[in-house]
């Protein structure tokens, strides 16, 4: 059971990088970035190829650069080419499927069983310390911490404020003599770098990449983000970012426990879909309830 929980923690932490990416694009910039699935796989594929070539540490920045490129294309399509933001995400996602297979050398599966990854490299480094058995968790936790610190600092800069304002009131950004197209591009580049890093780490931790490693990731991350929002509904950026990570870990724990009670593994994506539906539709339906109540009781009052 302990090992199951540890795996859940590790998967939650790695996946939370994607959740933090959506925290930036969905919560801050108000763009639902549907290229997330493809970008996640892109990061996994690029990271794996670089690691297999013998550069485990270089694989991380390489994956992030690939993510930046992917985010750049998605952003340019929606800000400069007049393509709807949801549609540009879908288009990039589709295009990335071919690119990802090309990156993996025409194969849809890469194996890293004998490859030196960031995890195996650190496993040796940590073997003498108290963290010996938890090297994967340590790596994931370090990455998550760095990303949260980065976000907390970045979103307080002038550029970060402009990105937040773009999601909040684009008119106001324009009148502050900042081009909202520019802030959207920067925001999506940064968020996709995190998504790709997330994919890269997941691939290396499970020592393989398949072309569908990222499928459904946007819904899973969104579910985690919305669970996280329940933990930290308000407060500063750092608190809400930590909330997002907690959401991702909780999601994985619940999933792990459900698997223990014989829920089939293929149910993961249905569960995440249902969570997203409940989290978004719930507040809406609640706000509609008085009207519904009025409809049902109309004409039945005492005359």
């Amino acid at each position: 059971m302990i090992s199951i929980l540890q795996t859940a923690l590790e998967l939650g932490l790695i996946g939370s990088l994607t959740v933090l990416a959506l925290f930036l694009s969905y919560t801050m910039l108000n763009v639902c970035d549907l290229s997330t699935d493809g970008c996640f796989t892109l990061g996994a594929a690029v990271g794996a190829v670089v690691a297999i070539a013998g550069h485990p540490y270089l694989s991380l920045p390489a994956a992030m650069c690939a993510g930046v490129l992917s985010g750049f294309v998605t952003a340019v399509l929606q800000t400069k080419m007049g393509i709807d933001s949801l549609l540009s995400g879908i288009i990039v996602n589709t295009g990335l499927y071919s690119i990802n297979i090309a990156v993996m050398g025409g194969s849809s599966l890469l194996n890293m069983n004998k490859t030196e990854t960031v995890f195996t490299a650190l496993k040796d480094a940590l073997s003498e310390t108290a963290f010996a058995g938890a090297h994967k968790t340590v790596v994931a936790l370090a990455a998550v911490t760095l990303v949260i610190v980065f976000l907390a600092l970045f979103l307080r800069t002038k550029l970060g404020l402009a990105i937040r304002a773009t999601g909040d009131n684009p008119d106001m950004v324009r009148s502050s003599s900042i081009n909202p197209a520019f802030t959207t591009i920067v925001g999506l580049c940064v968020s996709n770098a995190f998504t790709a890093l997330s994919g890269c780490l997941l691939a290396q931790s499970q020592k393989s990449v398949s072309i569908d490693i990222g499928s459904g990731m946007v819904t899973i991350a969104l579910a985690s983000l919305l669970i996280g929002r329940a933990f930290a509904p308000r407060g500063g950026i750092p608190i809400r970012a930590v909330g997002a990570v907690v959401g991702a870990v909780v999601f994985r724990f619940v999933y792990a426990v459900a698997l223990r009670f014989n829920m089939p593994a293929f149910m993961l994506k249905l569960v995440s879909s249902v969570i997203v539906i409940i989290a978004i539709a719930g507040p809406y339906l609640k706000s509609r309830y008085p009207e519904l109540h009025r409809r049902m009781t109309h004409g039945k009052e005492a005359r």
Binding site: T157, K158, L159, R164, A165, D168, N169, D171, S175, S176
Partner: protein
């Protein structure tokens, strides 16, 4: 300061919905002028502001601000030298961000990666205190919690924190209750005077059109039909404006809100 030469704008050209909103309008505004603009619904007052601010490009003509031709400059570039307030108090500030963050964005000091400095915070505080609304003690609260009047006053502060070459006020008190509108209007007057701003103000209130500023324009069908300043303007009453409008436009001023106010 502002020179507009024969600008025209037709929306939906070549269709049955074609509407010419500006017809070869020319306007010269001197440095430090405070111009009030009145006119019936659809006269082209807001269209004129949109043209100056760059919400769209005009079909012909040129716009020169402070010696710089801005006819084809994008909106966000013009925003460096033009401050603008809309009727809707919600349009000028980001509701999910704090007062301090909104002011920091409007001030736009420092490079892209700079944080708000202590000196800036102190300066924001002093500025907010001038509004007399107690906002200086609420700098860490989200702007969404403010009332319409407070938000419009904050927007006014944001638009003028770096004194712009030109301030455009598009019925910026019309959505506020009378007492708040009065307050925001007097703040406007103070800020415009103390910064010696050049300002154009659209208003539906004929009395404030005459009370505020040093020049009044009347617009109809996309052009300026009457332009008055100086001693002649001093003598004008609201009733005179109605008569003048009828003479210049050949019809009654039919802005319902004007007649009611």
């Amino acid at each position: 300061m502002l020179t507009i030469r024969r600008i025209s704008k037709t929306f939906n050209p070549g269709t049955v919905n074609a509407k010419t909103a500006l017809r070869g309008l020319s306007l010269e505004v001197a440095d430090g002028d405070f111009v009030s603009i009145i006119g019936a619904n659809g006269a082209g007052k807001s269209t004129l502001f949109n043209a100056i601010a760059g919400s769209f490009f005009t079909d012909s003509g040129s716009i020169v601000l402070g010696g710089e031709d801005i006819t084809l400059a994008p909106e966000y570039v013009r925003a460096k030298s033009i401050g603008r307030l809309f009727q809707d108090p919600m349009r000028g500030s980001a509701p999910g961000m704090t007062i301090e963050e909104n002011l920091a964005l409007a001030a736009g000091r420092g490079g892209w990666l700079s944080h708000v400095s202590k000196a800036d915070k102190a300066a924001f505080r002093d500025r907010l205190a001038l509004l007399g609304m107690g906002l200086e003690d609420r700098m860490q609260q989200p702007v969404g919690l403010l009332s319409g009047g407070q938000r419009q006053a904050l927007t006014l502060m944001m638009a003028t924190i770096n004194p712009p070459k030109l301030l455009l006020l598009d019925e910026h008190t019309a959505a506020l209750d009378p007492a708040t509108a009065e307050k925001v209007l007097s703040l406007t007057k103070d800020i415009v005077e103390s910064n010696r701003l050049t300002c154009l103000m659209v208003t539906h209130n004929m009395q404030s059109a005459l009370d505020l500023g040093n020049r009044t324009l009347m617009m109809d069908q996309g052009d300026i039909i009457y332009d008055v300043a100086g001693a002649e303007r001093e003598k004008l009453q609201v009733s005179d404006l109605l008569v003048l409008f009828r003479e210049a436009a050949g019809k009654n001023l039919d802005n319902d809100r004007m007649l009611l106010s």
